[in-house]
Symmetry: D2
Subunit: 282 residues, 4 copies
């Protein structure tokens, strides 16, 4: 059995769902999952569909789908082979909690993904990469060498056919060099409940403001700092007894879980992005 995932979006119109499900049926496919969302403000229709086929040719499906449906409804669409593991590049810096967490999940089979390599601007986490048998590239970044470093990062990603990048507490701002090559494909974890506490040292700001709840946010990276489409968020209660160090420690748990959640949504092709917002099909 071949299994595919389709993501479709277009202007909202009558008959799209019937046309698409019909097309699948006429091609001897069995729909095993369908979900859709209409953004009434934007008048945009989005659909996610999984289908099984006994006999399947990706080539001919694509060509038929295009001629029968894409032109008629002016669709934008993506198709994925469900069995195909996405390739994920991991960027880290000195903090190890998200790295341990992700590699632990990877090791236990929780993440349906390949991790061809880990990149870091420091050497500290190399032993962790090695203990999980994942190649580790140390690419230092300074103001002067940033462009060069990103070129090197990009080269590695291209060589390994990387599908998406995860910034697992990578403490550098990523520029257009990478962002334009991986639009809505670079996942960051920000250690605050966005849009509160954008930028550096959010736990210090949270402490100063005296909030009773802290949070973490995973989002796609855009050129606007910490302003990209939000994929996942979580929060935890805190109190006046929490020092900044306590907030940071508590926050680590949030960061780990929120980043892993966002990655799982992405890996399972459950995310669609419109208008700087995500649709997460459940």
């Amino acid at each position: 059995m071949n299994r595919i995932t389709l993501q479709i979006h277009c202007k909202d119109q009558t008959g799209i769902i019937a046309s698409v499900t019909n097309f699948i049926a006429n091609n001897n496919g069995n729909i095993v999952y369908i979900d859709q969302h209409v953004d009434r403000e934007q008048d945009i229709f989005c659909m996610r569909l999984e289908s099984e086929f006994k006999a399947f040719s990706m080539e001919s499906f694509k060509s038929n789908f295009t001629s029968v449906l894409v032109e008629k409804f002016k669709m934008k669409w993506r198709i994925y082979d469900v069995e195909e593991k996405p390739k994920m590049a991991l960027f880290v810096s000195k903090y190890d909690h998200c790295l341990y967490d992700l590699l632990g999940r990877y090791n236990s089979g929780e993440l349906f993904v390949e991790i061809p390599f880990i990149i870091s601007n420091h050497n500290n986490l190399k032993p962790i990469a090695e203990s999980f048998n994942i190649p580790f590239y140390h690419i230092p970044v300074t103001k002067d060498t940033k462009a060069e470093a990103e070129a090197q990062q990009l080269k590695l990603c291209k060589e390994h056919n990387i599908n998406f990048i995860v910034l697992a507490r990578y403490m550098q701002i990523v520029t257009n060099t990478l962002i334009n090559e991986y639009p809505n494909k670079i996942i960051n974890i920000h250690h605050s409940f966005l849009p509160a506490f954008i930028g550096a040292k959010p736990y210090h700001s949270a402490f100063k403001r005296g909030v009773k709840i802290i949070g973490a946010t995973s989002h796609y990276v855009t050129t606007d700092l910490d302003a990209g489409p939000i994929i996942a968020q979580d929060v935890a209660s805190v109190s006046h007894t929490y020092s900044i160090e306590d907030l940071i420690a508590k926050g680590r748990d949030l960061e780990k879980i929120v980043l892993a959640t966002a990655i799982k949504h992405h890996i399972n092709r459950k995310v669609m992005v419109f208008n700087n917002k995500t649709i997460i099909f459940s």
Copy 2:
């Protein structure tokens, strides 16, 4: 524009979604919502669908749908006119918090429902019913008069074409007389995180056990006490500083929100029940 909601379930088979969406399209309907779930353990397919029609006859739709699809797939199905407000009977006892909460939501238009009357085995809450201009029936219940009281309750429900019943901290056990007439249509709020602390005085049991989190559960009433299909649950953190009274006070907030959530799911026809479990389409 006429708008309908369809709920369908049957054995999982190839082509159901295409057939149904096709049927809608052939009848000039526009699907505005579709969601489905396959229970792999039971091999059961469930679908919820909303569709708009410019011209619509409920009669002929039902007859066509039956002849074209229901027999072919051996479906069980329900159809609802989205504009038709369900009629809800409210059963209360002496506690007023759920009653105030529900009537406040009703008053503000948050609940798409009619409340033809309130029934209670005590007279205490009559003034609240009156302040919201809702008829209040005092039907006392004792061991000896229980059967008679339920007959009276049932008679009122029938007279007013009640669609579903809400037990808003109604402190009596309801028997088959009502349950059989309203299967999966009697919504109860239980003041614990089921299946923990079934039965009476759950906050006392929670206190004794020293739990760090308490909960509330809304479920459909079946003949098994507190064992019916769960519709909604919520929890709150507590600590050793909480007395039983504190647990009860905190629990009231949970009860209000969980019951209201369950009612909204039911009113919007988002709930399907199988095998003593609910599917809540979002």
Copy 3:
């Protein structure tokens, strides 16, 4: 038995706790609750203490405490008679959900408080006030009459010896006229997770930003808009399926609970304020 609550703060010094507990013992008091917090950044010591006395004179306790301890440690302190119900003024506008919620709690005895009156700039909620037998004052507010209106509000508060004011979705900005008379004694509910979405229409902003969690924040009113000391916060998960109206409906539940929680902390004298942050003794 007389029961008092003491709140003390001063520069952190050796021996404060022993001196104070000693003083209570020497005055034949039995300490039934003690909690303290040291703000290491500010080097400030805060303590909350409850004590029972068989014989008690507020006058002489105050005078002894001052001469023995206050001068020695340069304390700022407050003393409360636990049996004395604080007097709370309720300010509302057109939204009724917080009003219903608070009056329901008040009615059931959950809030240890007196509510001498309700003030509103609109007449809409008068019937609710009346159904709970609480005097309702309609004081319209326009740009031109704002100063006059606040003078009237203040006069009412003074006449009734109001201890603190609750803005239960009162949609007006309160000025220094009231703030200076009731420092850290005006409790507002803001319908966002502060410091995110300060100001008007936070649910609209949350929808636009595509957050996955919304919140509500109760804080003391200061002259900085929505920037006063935070007393309580809570959040709820949302998704792309939520319209702005859905966010608003979900938010109402948060607002009710968060405001009630903050009021209970205040009523029970559990809150101390330093440096624009609260300490909430549990």
Copy 4:
């Protein structure tokens, strides 16, 4: 500076707090933390206190404290040197998620603890122990060898002066041999929201019951299965779309966080146990 933590409990009586704080002051100690709780049902007074001393002899403090206070108030008490790291034995089986999580925290300095060794009834997790440079003892357990295996475990614990034991998804039932030697010093993580779903396969039971929230519970091990004093609990929302495998995956995150939280409370001597319930001083 020497720093100690005191835990005291006795029948509730007048003057305890003053007497203890006085004693500290007379011994030139500075109290930096004090919290207390009175269990009104049991009439038991509990207190936790941290104090700093410039000059300090544990010997003489103990002897003085005993003669001045312990006899007078019939106290039970414990004293801890804050600088002394507790020694924790880790028992695991085949699941690695809690092990990775705890060792990651340990490595980063988040846990103030020594881990002299890891014991397992299987060899699978040995490489993880080695990558963190912690001795790993493989002690197989069968029905027939259980007594012998526990004797070996106990011997190791004694040799290394183990203070407490953590069962990090150790899938064996521990008997009196260990429990009696480490009363309220064996911490287990149970993968359900206790008291719901006691015993084996709680996620399967949760799936069958159709709960909308799952949980995890960390508790001290007693001879009653899964019925010991609860230290920490947490929950997560789930839906009908979750398979049993999804519940298990989501549950792993809860287990990690709840177990780590319980261990931190224990390490920081924040837990007191009475009547099969815990007091967690914050």
